[in-house]
């Protein structure tokens, strides 16, 4: 057996079968199923906080999947279901925080830091530009600033 074949078998042997956590029947309406999948991938399981309710085996996650499924089947839209969840569990239940309220600080911080960094960089460059050029030319290349 050549080396690449052995490699192939080793990789195959490492493959672990994936078990679906959510083993419920898909919803009849594909649009509703898509909404259900979007929501279960965006709602946090509060028992095991780094998992979504779609990924978690916790009983609470199963309960929340059941509630989300029922609401989707009842024809509620994404915003209504998210409001239902945040009224009970707070914004923390959403993996993607809203743009309003205290979470707005979270969204704004990278932009603010980028602008501050830009200002600092601009000031340093401007100061450098106004420095006199060294009179001697024996500075070795890459000799630092």
């Amino acid at each position: 057996m050549n080396r690449s074949a052995i490699c192939g078998w080793v990789i195959l042997a490492m493959a672990v079968p994936a078990f679906a956590i959510d083993s419920d029947e898909p919803l009849a309406d594909p649009q509703q199923q898509a909404l259900y999948e979007t929501l279960t991938a965006e709602v946090r399981c509060l028992v095991c906080q780094n998992q979504t309710v779609g990924d978690s085996t916790a009983p609470l996650a199963a309960d929340l999947r059941r509630e989300i499924r029922a609401m989707v089947e009842a024809g509620q839209d994404e915003a209504e279901i998210k409001t239902f969840l945040t009224e009970r569990y707070g914004d923390f239940v959403l993996y993607r925080p809203r743009y309003t309220g205290p979470a707005a600080v979270l969204w704004a911080t990278p932009v603010v830091l980028l602008i501050l960094g830009g200002i600092v960089l601009w000031r340093i460059l401007r100061r450098r530009a106004s420095l006199p050029v060294p009179a001697h030319d024996d500075v070795s290349e890459g000799g630092g600033a």
Binding site: L46, V47, Q49, P59, L60, D63, L64, E67, T86, E87, R88, Y89, G90, F92
Partner: protein
């Protein structure tokens, strides 16, 4: 020396942010229910399923709502504290038996003592979702009009009772008088 002012201030700010952040319990999720009327519910009572316990039964005086189950280790830990509160204080404790086996729950109260004025059975966890419950034991403090004043997550101890609950109960009673 003024060139050091901004880096030192920035460093100080980061120290404060991290210090506060490290002191926080990441598993604690503040309840959005505080300051709002307790969610409506209608649950069969554990001692007699023909009697329905509702949020209206909680009104009229300051009360506690305790979420418990026999599979919950923390509930066993806090059970003696609940018994002491029930015996010594003029605050009724209402139980919400969450996703539990009814026979086991009845046996639990017979064996260990029953601190509850009444317990509602939430077999499928639907009421618990309305209350934003995510891990038993949880204890809610309600004022006489049924508004949620405070929520404690984790087993109750007499220290927590004295420090977090009693001052709020006193305040709630003074306001209604």
């Amino acid at each position: 020396m003024s060139r050091f002012v901004i880096p030192i201030l920035a460093f100080g700010l980061l120290v404060v942010v991290f210090w506060v952040g490290l002191g926080r319990d990441p598993s604690y999720v503040p309840s959005p229910l505080i300051g709002k009327p307790a969610p409506a519910f209608a649950l069969p009572r554990l001692d007699n399923p023909e009697i329905i316990l509702t949020e209206a039964d909680l009104r009229g005086q300051v009360s506690l709502v305790n979420i418990w189950a026999t599979w919950c280790v923390g509930c066993r830990q806090e059970h003696d504290t609940l018994l002491r509160i029930a015996a010594g204080e003029d605050v009724p404790i209402y139980g919400l038996n969450w996703k539990d086996d009814t026979a086991k729950a009845q046996d639990w109260l017979t064996r260990l003592g029953d601190p509850y004025a009444a317990t509602g059975v939430d077999g499928d966890g639907r009421v618990a979702i309305d209350w934003g419950v995510y891990g038993a034991p949880e204890t809610f403090l309600l004022d006489a009009s049924g508004v949620v004043l405070y929520k404690h997550i984790a087993p109750l101890t007499m220290d927590i009772w004295r420090e977090e609950f009693l001052p709020r109960i006193r305040q709630a009673r003074n306001q209604t008088q």
